[in-house]
């Protein structure tokens, strides 16, 4: 059977897509011989059944448009990356938590990010913006996609030194950092961080706000520095206590000092 994989970039070139508004997912999927159908689904957000060179992507008709678009991108990722006859049923939990393990769900999530938030279109719109969830929401509206995917893309763009961390009570689920940031987040946010309060039941905390870096960063000198934290609760079915945090080194001195420290 022929390999059906085509990168998002290849699809954009073949279909003449150059602006966020041109990313018509139903048409792109159809071009890849995967037909989208909207229907009432129980227990999942979307699923795909593929046989031979054709597939049907079923999407929950009652979900928000942004969620539906991410679902289509994710299922198309399965169709592109997983060969042969396939059948996947994907719940919202997968879209929020499967970002760290190397498995078909992570591959499909990554494909969706490349398809929905292509770097050449995203980078100019993200340039110069603050690293906050207000920025993320604005960009997510423009690209009509999910908050998590947009936040990850913003961090990976590497415009400013920053990190996104997803925690739940008792453990860190995943994190992404700007390629230039070589620091590691702690396994759990410390007291003094906004996320700490949110994970322990606080309903609303004013963010973004500056916090001491030692509540977040695993480094012996972290207490000497400050970073900007924007955190909020992101409850989803089966994961009611997820907290997402954007960490931004507004003052890059900590990173520069640590670079010097490493070199000396």
């Amino acid at each position: 059977m022929a390999n059906r994989y085509r990168s998002a970039q290849t699809l954009f070139e073949e279909l003449g897509i150059s602006e966020p508004e041109d990313i018509q997912l139903e048409a792109i999927a159809q071009y890849c011989r995967a037909s989208v159908r909207y229907k009432a689904l129980e227990g999942c957000e979307a699923r795909i059944t593929g046989y031979g060179d054709r597939a049907i992507i079923s999407v929950n008709s009652s979900s928000r448009r942004q969620r539906q678009r991410f679902s289509i991108g994710h299922e198309l990722g399965h169709w592109m990356c997983d060969q042969g006859s396939i059948s996947f049923s994907c719940a919202e939990k997968i879209f929020a938590t499967e970002w760290d393990n190397s498995n078909p769900e992570r591959r499909a999530n990554r494909y969706a990010v490349d398809l929905l938030l292509p770097d050449p279109m995203f980078r100019p719109l993200a340039k110069g913006r603050d690293i906050t969830f207000a920025t993320v929401r604005d960009l997510a509206d423009r690209f009509q996609t999910s908050l998590i995917a947009t936040a990850i893309r913003l961090v990976e763009t590497g415009w400013l030194p920053c990190m996104i961390v997803c925690n739940e009570r008792g453990r860190r689920r995943w994190f992404f950092r700007d390629p230039d940031v070589q620091l590691w987040p702690l396994d759990q946010p410390g007291s003094g961080t906004i996320a700490y309060d949110l994970l322990r039941g606080a309903d609303h905390v004013e963010t973004p706000t500056p916090v001491c870096a030692d509540g977040w960063i695993d480094h012996k000198d972290a207490r000497r520095y400050e970073l900007q934290e924007d955190s909020f609760k992101f409850p989803i079915p089966n994961c009611p206590d997820l907290v997402l945090s954007l960490l931004w080194w507004k003052d890059e001195q900590q990173l520069l000092d640590l670079d010097e420290h490493e070199e000396s």
Binding site: G16, I17, Y31, R47, Y51, G52
Partner: protein
């Protein structure tokens, strides 16, 4: 030439040739003019050259984008046709939930790759709800799997 009344369907080549002649007649003197002369003539005719240039550039960009997106447009049309046809189609499936479950089980036996994929999705075939069974069969029918199985059986 009355282009509006030209019988385009019967004489397309003739009409195109005549259009080309008109364009040549109009454009030849224009090509021989200097840039300054073109600008002066545009201003004299009461037009703003910058605005006209922007309008023409905009039209050309639309035409280029339109051409580049021809496959995207065609895929969108195909998607809309298929989605409509899918809504109209009556799935010819067995009447009872039990018979439908039996049919899906037969499909999984005959096409182990589908059985494996479905099992991967639900871990156990028995965990499929009646609604899951029905919609899975509808999708397999639309994908042609059920017809392939029927043809295999007929040819044996």
């Amino acid at each position: 030439m009355d282009l509006g009344r030209a019988n385009v369907a019967n004489e397309p080549k003739k009409v195109i040739d005549e259009l080309c002649n008109v364009m040549d007649t109009v454009s030849d003197p224009l090509l021989q003019m200097s840039d300054d002369q073109v600008l002066a003539e545009t201003v004299a005719s009461g037009e703003n050259p910058e605005q006209s240039a922007a309008e023409v550039k905009g039209l050309l960009l639309i035409a280029v984008k339109d051409y580049r997106q021809r496959r995207l447009r065609s895929a969108q049309e195909e998607y809309e046709r298929e989605a409509f046809a899918s809504q109209q189609r009556q799935a010819a499936l067995p009447d009872t939930a039990e018979e439908r479950r039996l049919l899906l089980s037969l499909v999984c036996q005959q096409r182990p790759e589908i059985g494996n994929a479905l099992t991967l999705r639900h871990r156990h075939f028995e965990e499929l709800t009646d609604a899951d069974v029905e919609s899975s069969l509808e999708e397999l029918q639309e994908l042609g799997t059920l017809d392939d199985l029927r043809n295999d059986k007929d040819s044996q």
